[in-house]
Amino acid sequence: MAVTTAPPAPPRPPALTSPGRAGLSDKAFRFLSLGCGLLVLVILGFITVAMTQKAWPAFSHDGLRFFTTSRWAPNVEVFGSLSFVYGTVVTAIVALVLAVPLSVGLALFLSDIAPRRLRRPVSSLVDLLAAVPSVVYGLWGVIVLAPWLAGVYERVSDITSPIPVLSSLFSGPSTGRGLFTAGIILALMVTPIITSITREVFDTVPVMAKEAAYALGSTRWEMIRAAVFPHSRAGMIGAVMLGVGRAMGETIAAALVIGSSPQITANLFGSGDSMAAVIANQFNEAGGLHRSALIALGVELFLLTILVNIVARVVIARGRVRA
């Protein structure tokens, strides 16, 4: 039949569409969130300025030698940071090599592989790993882990001594306190972060993608490689970056187990030192130029973190182009 009148307009919910004041509050919210975003910039800028200011006496005293030499002798005012940079990088690499497979495995377990009953307990396991304070990891590392590892390192170094490259990487005898032990402790500390975020990402893989992979006849592992990993790459990268940040910036636990011997050694079982650890160890008794030098180390760690982030992004971008 012919309709001569327009159908009645649907009832308009009042709050959603009234203009004027609404537009203002929308703008205000946007402004507020922008402000919070900028807060990171402000705080970091603040930190950089304040730290560089305090570190300046050390920089001007040693110049470029601060970055390029490895001799650190506060009592004669010689400051070279290379051995600490080495320690930081090496322990972070060891930590990541150990933590990333572990975390991805845990995340996969929690999102795809675990039987229902085990999901909650293992999830609590990860939460418990995160709940342990860093100082407790450090103390347990020194009192329990390091002595035990000393024996393990002995046996490993006995096995690797005939092999050319490995023998210099893994030689004993060792006190158990050193770069590799620090890497292990850091791995334990970094795992919860990477696992949690990665697991969240894995959980949101669309079920359809998984079903599609199965429908095409893939095994579980192949489904994971086809549906879960590609979807999650960005999130996983973000998680790993946070892990890197934590591994490089971890102060107390590293300070207790790393051996505190500023040296550049290829021996992973040997003692070393890292930037954060030496700052923690020496700061309380430092005065004057020594204090400046320690803060300068902090600035250098800053710069190192920036460098690592840039390199990671470049690598990812290249990877994306190729894929």
């Binding site: 308009r12 919910p13 509050s25 919210f29 946007r30 507020l32 969130s33 922008l34 402000g35 975003g37 990171v40 910039l41 705080i43 970091l44 603040f46 304040a50 730290m51 497979p101 975390s103 991805v104 495995g105 845990l106 377990f109 592989i113 609590s124 939460d127 790993l129 995160a130 709940a131 342990v132 304070p133 860093s134 100082v135 407790v136 103390l139 329990v144 919860p192 949690s196 975020i197 969240e200 990402v201 949101t204 006849g217 095994t219 579980r220 192949e222 940040g245 910036g249 971890e250 102060t251 107390i252 954060a276 923690a280 700061f283 902090g298 800053f302 190192l304 973190t305 920036i306 982030n309």
Partner: protein, 287 residues
């Protein structure tokens, strides 16, 4: 279902599958074993001393004296970490909102994302020193100064994990809300954030767990006390993490016992907080 398909699968692929699944189970065991050892060790050392008195009595002024407690440290940790959470989580979530909802691929957002990762790498002791320089020198030692230092540590974690959580909320939800006529801010507040809540809460919990366990940032900002100080702004304070570190470095049995008791308390505290928060999220999340 997979068993049905696997019948037709080549042995190589089956082997790879078994291997991968096996590795996954192995990773669970690898995480569980050191943790089990650690917890057993802690329980042996700390369980004997933790009781109600331990949690509420004042810290003995002389550390060689045996006996409880860690009351002021428990209170301090709760207050300081609580305040740090109050400061960093809302700010962090809002920053993540900017990055994901408004910033997108813009230059500024990319820079902020980058800087947030950089901030995650700042050593905790440097954060403490920073707050010391800009706040403590002006207003003196206080629990609030410690909270600020911890908040700075927490911020990058909250931002990163919240952004990831927000990113994972499907656009369909946003579009549906917009189609109903809601403004962006309303959409974010009532649709996107609730949908991302499990991820946001989980990220916030990671940040809280980290903050509660940090010692270095508190070294220069909160001082120490032996009696409970319920005020965050007035006077020095103490926290479990600082007490653990200080007491474990003493030679006296009594102090070491207290250190491990404090360690056990702190772990339980954080773990209970985590469990409660996850429960609350699960209860209130719309699925």
């Amino acid at each position: 279902m997979s068993a049905m398909l696997l019948g037709r699968v080549s042995p190589v692929r089956r082997f790879r599958n078994r291997l991968a699944i096996g590795m996954v189970w192995l990773s669970v065991a690898t995480a569980a074993v050191p943790l089990a050892f650690l917890m057993v060790y802690l329980a042996q050392k700390g369980a004997g001393i933790v009781d109600w008195n331990f949690l509420t009595d004042d810290i003995p002024i002389s550390s060689r004296l045996p006996g409880p407690g860690m009351g002021p440290a428990v209170l301090g940790t709760l207050l300081i970490t609580g305040m740090a959470t109050l400061v960093s989580v809302p700010l962090g979530v809002l920053a993540a909102v900017y990055l994901n909802e408004y910033g997108g691929n813009r230059r500024l957002a990319a820079v902020l994302r980058f800087l947030s990762d950089v901030m995650a790498g700042v050593p905790s002791i440097v954060m403490g020193l920073f707050i010391y320089t800009v706040y403590v020198l002006r207003y003196g030692l206080s629990g609030f100064a410690g909270a600020l230092a911890l908040g700075c540590l927490m911020l990058p974690i909250v931002i990163r994990s919240a952004e990831t959580a927000l990113k994972l909320v499907p656009d369909e939800l946003r579009e549906a809300s917009a189609a109903l006529g809601a403004r962006t801010s309303r959409t974010i507040l009532t649709v996107v954030i609730p949908a991302a809540l499990p991820g946001i809460v989980s990220g916030a919990l990671l940040a809280v767990a980290r903050a509660a366990g940090e010692t270095a940032p508190l070294l220069f900002t909160i001082g120490t006390v032996n009696a409970a100080n319920p005020s965050l702004f007035d006077g020095a304070n103490t926290a479990l993490s600082a007490q653990i570190f200080g007491n474990a470095r003493q030679p006296f049995e009594a102090a070491i016992d207290r250190a491990w008791g404090a360690a056990l308390t702190l772990i339980l505290l954080v773990f209970v907080l985590t469990a409660v928060a996850r429960l609350v999220t699960r209860r209130f999340t719309v699925r």
